[in-house]
Symmetry: C2
Subunit: 162 residues, 2 copies
Amino acid sequence: MKRPDPVAPSDDASRALAWQLLSEATHAALSWTDPETLTPGISRVAFALDPEAGPLTLISGLAPHTTALRAQPACALMVGEVGDKGDPMTHPRLMLRALAAFVPADDPRRATLRARWLARNPKATVYIDLPDFSFVRLVPQSALLNGGFARAFRLSAADFEA
Amino acid sequence: MKRPDPVAPSDDASRALAWQLLSEATHAALSWTDPETLTPGISRVAFALDPEAGPLTLISGLAPHTTALRAQPACALMVGEVGDKGDPMTHPRLMLRALAAFVPADDPRRATLRARWLARNPKATVYIDLPDFSFVRLVPQSALLNGGFARAFRLSAADFEA
């Protein structure tokens, strides 16, 4: 006998929570595929939910995830902080499958992304214009929202459309 | 001209920091490969550095990462919290490539792992003995320690031997 699916379809409350977790995030855990070994890698990346570009990161060409995303744009990211109290597994987090889309340095939209990024994090001035740094859009494909023990929801790409 | 490697070899201080990050962690971000699509997935998992078994997690058979690790044991995990202050990218974190080794339910060492796990997290009593929950050792293969902006160290499997 097949067990019932433990993951519920998305609803208004789970979409709102997913959006809130993305809006509040300043960093994310990013999962990528190592192009040499085809095994999983993981990194912490800077993160923002840009009002136009959606989930967005700014990464260095010296980082292994940059090489990996250029070779294989399929990736996954997780946002949602663990609080100080209680079982860490009860704090909500969003696991988002995404496709990485590099923003070319000469893309006319880059100036706006850059201005909004610096407004949120002025300290990025030090490195944002270094030639090996790139903005990368993390275009949602699907997601799993875990709102705590045994409270999981499946979201689709459509759930992330503004 | 090839640029110099931005990652330094491990030393006593970086090994000590890696060990400290693992010792303090109660959860980790886990990167795995989806066996159907061969694309990356990510999950938050409970975590402990067991004094005998090393990096250890306790996962549910209902979770997608459990199916994934059974099919493809190569994975990667990240530990290290982001503090309240400053640029989140300046807080140290360890990215560990590992091989997942499931601890069989009838393994004679399971009782000790279980007792130590419950001593650290008594709330796990609720689910630790459910039949689909498994202890999984995350056997270190190599690691990247990021101690803040432009302070990275490469660690080997030998660096994690007690």
